[in-house]
Amino acid sequence: MASDTSRLGFYLLLAPILLWLVILIILPHIGLFIVSISEKIGPREYETGFDNYAAFFGEPLYWRTFARTAIMSILATVLTLILGFPIAYYIAKLTRGRTKTTLFLMCMIPFWVSELVRTFGWMILLRETGVISNALQYLGLVDGPVEMLYNDAAIMMGLVYTSILFMVVPLVTTLDSLDDSLIEAGYDLGGTSTSIMREIVIPHAMPGIVSGCIVVFMLSLGNYLTPILLGGKDSLWFTGMIYTQFITRFNWELGSAFGFLLLALSSLVVFAGLKLSRQSLIETMGRT
């Protein structure tokens, strides 16, 4: 009796997760793949083949944009790590109590706000008539208005800004768990700041570094707003191309192929990152 009711309870709990994952995650991705390997040969007539993928590799604009998106995302990830690590270290190791909570909150507030608002803020700052251009003119550093929007540096800065929290939070969590006495022991045994960083702090922070990098890379790769708004119409970001194929050109088959390629790339990088650092997806992502 008792085992029957618990059986029933188990299946009742299993049902929602299966519905969610099968209907909204697994089947749609299978569907996406099927559409990506269909070729339109007439109105509502399709045939299976890899023409869409061939089109991707045959057109330099497509694969160059793809490569550019990947490289810029990797660059953004590295930059975010370099900029975010000292901040996370400062919050985790050099502040205590109230100050720590306040700094941590100050880090989080910008990210509760829509990405659109944040990007809009950067537009006001960077454009020709913007705040920074005016400030530089006022200070006499430049003669006329400067346009700082619509270039790769602006995109990069926006990407770093958008994703830095997702680097700082896991880093603060892992660095927090590093016992101060380990650092002291390192010094006591004759270590220098550099060698302690390299041999004690960074190995300990590795899970946080990996999960931060994975999330930042993903967010950059899949970003649409920042490249469009800060990089302009010709920003050449791969998500923009997917959007164009789907919504403007109405070429869903090619768009699906693009989407699938982007998915493959992101999975590959996530997988490689986990393998290189000997972490598993569950231990890096499952501890939010």
């Binding site: 022991a185 390192g186 010094y187 006591d188 045994l189 270590g191 004690i200 300990h204």
Partner: protein, 364 residues
């Protein structure tokens, strides 16, 4: 002290935290190759003192010399001292060999030499061939030895130990006390050991400093600290003692007559105690200094009734309530003579006037 170059000299060392004085004008010397313990209750300032020696706190005033060289302003990674941390602080991301070799790597010692020296020191602490193991694959006692090996491979002038046995269970702790002492003798390195556990300090040390409220109350051999405590705090903190509040009723040379607050009379032979008639005093009497049985003759003998028998193997004791209502804890010799003692039995207690210690009551 007679040794010409003590390994560690602290003179008038003081540390203030805002309004709070954690260490208050502490001076001491530790001769080469000795085992020096600093014993005190938590919050007495012993950890601050140790961290000043290691370089993790800088003294507000005073001087600290190691092998004759002042350490003021020298960062921790440049001091010839090593520290065994309270929770050992073994690096969990490295294996045992890399942990022990850490300090040598920092000094730029060649790889092959590191390997031999690590193997050597691990053998000396009785753990040959564990280099490749991870930290979580060895037992608590083995971790202690790895932590000591990690310091000793650097051949420090002074090894600091911050209550490293605190986290171990009772059996292992007893075992490690003996082992630490023999490791110290084998390496012939100066050990400075802090603890709040008097039995650790008594068993291992050549000299003990008893610390309270940032000050040293007494520095001496374990025997002195136990049998000739120089203050009421030391008498109460080190070892077990019956504490009796009393008033001095007569002074006859070194012999004092006191009346306890409940009215029982006692005589104490305490030279140079500085007490005068009418003053309040505290009397400390070790449970093992009291004899049971015999008859009603001589000094400091009183008739009482067994209030409870506390059986604890070799450390068994009884509390005896005398006629005035004072309680005395008495150690029970395990010779079998008192095996039948029961609550309510009538007994005599007696003790030698030389065995008790007497100090002016605080605030009197």
């Amino acid at each position: 002290m007679s040794v010409p170059h003590p390994d560690l000299v602290c003179s008038d060392l003081t540390k203030d935290f805002d309004a709070f004085r954690a260490v208050d004008h502490v001076s001491f010397e530790v001769p080469q190759g000795s085992f020096f313990s600093i014993l005190g209750p938590s919050g007495c300032g012993k950890t601050t003192l140790l961290r000043m020696i290691a370089g993790f706190q800088s003294p507000t005033s005073g001087d600290l010399r190691i092998k004759g060289k002042s350490m003021i302003g020298v960062p921790p990674n440049k001091r010839p001292v090593s520290m065994v941390f309270q929770h050992l602080a073994l690096f969990p991301t490295m294996n045992i060999g890399d942990n022990v070799g850490f300090g040598l790597r920092q000094r730029g010692v060649a790889k092959s030499e590191i390997k031999t020296r690590v193997a050597e020191v691990l053998e000396r602490v009785g753990l040959p061939g564990v280099s490749a193991r991870r930290i979580d694959q060895i037992s608590g006692g083995q971790k202690q030895r790895v932590a000591i090996a990690r310091c000793m491979v650097l051949e420090p002038d002074v090894l600091l130990l911050d209550e490293p046995l605190g986290a171990l269970d009772l059996k292992l702790r007893e075992h490690m006390k003996v082992e630490l002492k023999s490791l110290q003798a084998a390496f012939n390195t100066t050990f400075v050991y802090i603890t709040h556990d008097q039995s650790e300090a008594l068993m291992m040390s050549d000299n003990i400093a008893v610390m309270n409220n940032g000050q040293f109350e007494q520095i001496g051999t374990p025997h002195d600290v136990y049998h000739a405590p120089s203050s009421a705090f030391v008498a109460g903190f080190v070892g077990d003692a019956n504490k009796i509040n009393a008033k001095v009723s007569a002074v006859n040379g070194a012999v004092l007559t006191l009346i306890s607050d409940r009215g029982s009379e006692m005589k104490i032979d305490a030279p140079a105690n500085g007490l005068s008639v009418g003053q309040s005093a505290q009397v400390f009497l070790r449970p093992e200094a009291i004899e049971l049985g015999g008859a009603d003759d001589g000094v400091n003998v009183s008739r009482g009734e067994v209030d409870s028998v506390l059986f604890n193997g070799a450390n068994s004791s009884v509390t005896v309530k005398d006629q005035t209502g004072d309680f005395l804890k008495v150690a029970l010799p395990q010779t079998g003579r008192f095996a039948n003692l029961r609550k309510g039995d009538s007994v005599f207690t007696r003790w030698d006037p030389k065995q008790a210690r007497c100090y002016p009551a605080p605030g009197a």
